[in-house]
Amino acid sequence: MVRTSVVGLGLVALVLGYAAPAAGQWLVTDARRIGMGGLTLGRSGSAVRYNPAYRAVPAQADRRGQPKVTIPIPLGIIQFLHDHPHISKDPMFHPDSAGFNPILVVNTILNLPLYLEVKQAPTPTNDVAFTIGKNQLVVNLGAAGQLVPEDQFGISGSSRPLDFGIDIKGVRFGVMGWLHDQVQFQLGDTLLAFLHDSVPARDSTTYNVLVHGLVEGGFAPTISYAGRIAGDSATGLYVGGALHYYLGAGYARTDGTAGFLTGDTIFGGTNPVTPLGATFTQYSKPGNTLGHGIGGDVGVAWVSGPIEVGVGVNDIGATITWPDTRQDNAFYKDSSYSKPVANHVETTTKLPVSYIVNLAYTVGRTTLGADVLNTGLGATVHVGGEQRIGPWAVRGGIARDQRKRIEFGWGGGLRFGGLGLDVGFWTHTNSLSNERGITMATSLSIY
C-alpha cells in the first residue's frame, strides 16, 4: 500500500512536471497541421477559438487547401493494443507488480498512443549515485538532474466546452461554458539545490514544494459581434468582439507547501525526516451563490488577396467574484488537522488572458504561415507551409513549444477528389528525455 502511494505520488509529480508542454500537442488531431509543425491556417484549429473576428472571415477552403472535416486514423492505438493486449492485467501498468515500469506509464500518459511513435524518445540511462552517511545525504543524478524543473511547472488550461447561440447579422447571442484549471508546483530552494545541483542535504532543514491548485467553471451568457467593416471578400478588414457575463458554478483553490524536515542528524534516528504540510484552501461549492464577473474577447483579421493576418485576445479583465466562499487552513506535522478560517466571505479569481497572432500567405499552390499562441502558460510559435503539386501536397514546419524547445514537422498528402489522406511527422521532447522522439500522424480529409 505504501509502495503504491509512493509510486503514485512519484508519477503524479513527473506527469505534472512534463505535461505542460505536451498539452499543446495532444489536441492536434489533423495530420496536415502536424505536417506543418502545428501551424494554424485560416479558420482551422486555434484561430476561430481565440480570435472572434474569424467568425466572419470566409473559410476559403479551396484557397488554403483546407478540408472541411478531418478524421484522425489512430494507428498508435492499434500498435498500443497490439503491444499490450491485456492492459488490465499487464504487469507493466500495475505498481504492485515486479514488472511495473513507471517510465512506460509516464510516457504513455504524456504521449497518448493516438499516433504512431516511429521513434521513441530515449530515456536517460545515466547512473544515479546516492552518498549516505550518518549525517550525510548527497544525490547525484548525473545528466538526469537536468530534468528536475528549476522553474514553476504544472498544467493549466482554459477551455470553453460549450458554445451555442443564434446569429443575427453578425451579432450573436449565446451561452458558453467555461472551465479553468491550474496545477502548479515550484521546488523550494533547498530541494531544488539538493536534486538539481547535488548539494548535500542539511540536517534540521526543511525541503519543500510549493503547491498551487485551482479549478473553476461555470457558464457565461455572451453577446458578440463579428463582421467585415471594410473592403470586400477579396480584401477586407474583419473585427470581432464578445462580452461575457461569467457565472461561476463552483471553484476550489488551494495554496500551500508540502515537504519534510530533516532531523538534527539525517540518518540518526528511526525516522530520518518529519513530514510537513500546510495549505490554505478556498472553495465555493456548486449550490452556493454563483460567482460573477465580466470579461471580453477582441479580435481583428485582415485579408488582402494572398495575405491573411489575425490577432485575437480572450478573457480580458475576466475576474470572477465569488460571494460565498469558505476558507480553511490545513496543517500536517505528525498528524493532520484543519482549522476553519472564514465562511461566506467574498473572494476573487482571474481567468488567464489568452492570445493568438496568426499570419498566412498564399501564392498559387503554396501556402506559408506562422502563428503565436499563448493560452496562459507560455507562448508556442509555429511556422510552416504547404506546397501542393497536382493531387500531392508536401508540408513542413517548425515550432517552439512551451519549454522553448524547437520541434520540427513534415509530411505530405494525397487527394482523390473530395477525399484526402494526410501523413504528418512531428518531433517532440515532452517525455522524460531531452532527446526528441518522432510521432507519425495520419488522417483522412473530406474536402
Binding site: 530515456t123 536517460p124 549525517n135 543524478l141 540518518f267 522524460l432
Partner: protein, 182 residues
C-alpha cells in the same frame, strides 16, 4: 513509517529519471560508528588457530530500495592494526544482519579480509576491499540493517599472546542496483 516513504518518494522520482541506468548507493558505514566503536581490541591466546573478537553491533539507517534487486555490493575501507605484543595474523571480518542478534551468527559474515601478519609493537595498515557475499543483498532493501565488525586472528606461538587494537579509519559500501528502484 510515514517519514520513511518520503525519502522513497524522492528516490522514486529520481530513479524514474535515470531509466535503465544503475542506482548506486555509497554508504559511509564509518560515519555510523559511535566514537570508540571504530576500534576492536583483540587478544589471541597462544596456540589459537582462529578466533574472532568483535565490536558491538551498530545499526545503519538506509532509504531502502524496496522491491529493487541489488546487483552487487562493493566495500572499500582502511584500517590500522595497532599490535602491542606477540606474533600472529589478523584480518577484518564484517557481519551484517537485519537485527542486532543476527550479526553474531556465522552465516551473517559477508566479508572476510585476507589476514596480515603482525608482530611485536607495530602499526600495520591494511586495506579492506572486495565484494560482499550475496547474503547481504536483500538487507539493503530495508530501511535499516545491523553491522558488526570483528577482528579475525590466529596465533601460532605456544607462549606469547597476540594483543592490540584494530582501528577502522574508513569504511564505505557501494550498493549497485540495476533494476528499477521501486
Amino acid at each position: 513509517m510515514r517519514a520513511k516513504w518520503l525519502w522513497t518518494i524522492c528516490l522514486a522520482g529520481l530513479a524514474a529519471g535515470c531509466g535503465k541506468g544503475e542506482a548506486i548507493f555509497n554508504v559511509n558505514v564509518y560515519s555510523f560508528l559511535p566514537p570508540k566503536q571504530d576500534s576492536v581490541p583483540y587478544v589471541i591466546p597462544p596456540s589459537t588457530p582462529g578466533i574472532d573478537t568483535g565490536s558491538v553491533p551498530q545499526r545503519i539507517s538506509l532509504p531502502g530500495v524496496g522491491s529493487s534487486i541489488v546487483d552487487s555490493i562493493l566495500i572499500f575501507g582502511t584500517l590500522d592494526l595497532h599490535n602491542t605484543g606477540g606474533t600472529g595474523t589478523l584480518g577484518l571480518q564484517l557481519f551484517m544482519a537485519s537485527d542486532s542478534a543476527g550479526t553474531y551468527s556465522p552465516s551473517a559474515a559477508v566479508l572476510t579480509v585476507t589476514s596480515k601478519t603482525v608482530t611485536g609493537t607495530q602499526v600495520v595498515p591494511d586495506t579492506v576491499q572486495g565484494k560482499l557475499l550475496s547474503n547481504a543483498d536483500s538487507l539493503f532493501a530495508k530501511t535499516q540493517l545491523w553491522v558488526r565488525v570483528a577482528a579475525h586472528g590466529s596465533n601460532a606461538s605456544a607462549v606469547t599472546p597476540v594483543t592490540g587494537t584494530m582501528v577502522l579509519t574508513s569504511l564505505m559500501l557501494s550498493v549497485f542496483i540495476n533494476d528499477k528502484i521501486f
